[in-house]
Amino acid sequence: MKGRVIISVLAVVLTIFSCRNNSRKSEEFVLANTDSLTASVNPEVDAMEEIYRNFSSPLEIANLFQVMGVPFSPSYLASSLNANEQTTSFQKALYLGILGADLGYLNMYEKTGTAIELVSSVKKIADGLNVGQFFNFETIKRISLNKSNLDSLLFLSVDSYSRMDEFLRKNNRSQLSSIMIVGVWIEAQYFATQVMKQYPNHLLRERIGEQKYFLEDLIRNVAPYCDNDKEFATVCSYLRDIASKYENIKISYTKGDPSSSEKDGILVVTQTETSMVEMTDEQLAEIIDITGNVRNKLIAN
């Protein structure tokens, strides 16, 4: 009898340990024994793919808003998205991207408490795509509620998205990964253009214009899937519509050697080479309009 009791206790304890949410798992960076490594380790993603697969772009846009002194506004967020309503994998992937950008915006403004609902939606959609195991829900939620460490939160959010993306690509679902990236980009572009309308600023104007080349690469990335079905065809056509507004925008460069100095043990390098965007007010207005239209159509579907 005693034996059975102990075995039962043992079973319960081990079950508890086994089911324990290993929420810190995505923070792992287990270092290999370097002696066993080959001479070179390169990223698996090819050169151009590394560029579009940038889940940090909304953070950079939000950082620029903060430099400009733009206050936080919930009106830019895709609040109407309902995590329970997506029917197709395409919609789930697109919304996962859009909500990822919203999460980045909220985190950058340290609106972490209000981000909890959004984090739950991201988890729900990620589960629907069978990538929920890569979204570090419990830890992100805990850090968000505690408002304990912004950098860890940014790290975990970006890392979770990178892992979900990697899993999709490695499991022959690259089309969903591409559409997720489109979602991230379109939402970040929406933030930029909406803020530009309310708080015109030359730094933001340049950043919007500089999206020309990034958008071209994004279109190339999604192009193989444009004939997949109606949903892909629609998004491809939306992206081409936006790109058409960028057609006559020019980006020029001036040459110069970087200068460097040391301050408090930090090497500070200043580029003197510059890039400049030539964009008229009309072109900017058209980009703002079309971005708003496309983004709102995407979240209304």
Binding site: I6, L14, N22, R24, L31, D151, E210, I251, P258, Q271
Partner: protein, 145 residues
């Protein structure tokens, strides 16, 4: 009874050891904490390299878009078990060196490099360990306000 309890304790301690081994590597947390109070995390690169047979070129290459009017900080953290120290070079898309974390004149190796970017574009980020030695490390890219 004692036999069952002993078995239970052995199993439990075995599980605890295994569980402990899967916990996060402190290097990531340590590196994140060392980026500075005004730094905001953007991206990280995890580098693991064995001993190189030649020291000609940096072996780990990645691409990254950097945007004008942004101050980026590259924090370089080397794992304790590494033989070399993590170093960095950045090149622009015209194949010009933008920065190096090693000052060849003085021999100083910087663990923090700030780039005040004035040209948006795609940059090649190269990492290696000093003298082509084996090592593991992480580089965190942050934005500084």
């Amino acid at each position: 009874m004692k036999k069952y309890l002993l078995g239970f304790l052995l199993l439990l301690s075995g599980y605890a050891v295994l569980y402990g081994q899967t916990q996060s590597d402190p290097l990531v947390s340590k590196c994140l904490l060392s980026t500075g109070p005004t730094a905001k995390y953007l991206k990280d690169f995890r580098i693991q390299l064995g001993q190189s047979t030649s020291q000609d070129a940096f072996r780990y290459k990645a691409n990254m878009s950097l945007w004008k009017n942004t101050r980026y900080r590259f924090t370089l953290c080397t794992a304790d078990n590494s033989q070399g120290q993590l170093i960095l070079n950045i090149w622009d898309n015209s194949n010009n060196v933008v920065l190096s974390s090693v000052d060849k004149k003085t021999g100083t190796i910087y663990n923090y490099v700030d780039l005040i970017c004035n040209k948006s574009g795609i940059y090649q980020i190269y990492f290696d360990f000093t003298e082509g030695q084996a090592g593991s490390g992480i580089s965190i890219v942050s934005m500084i306000q």
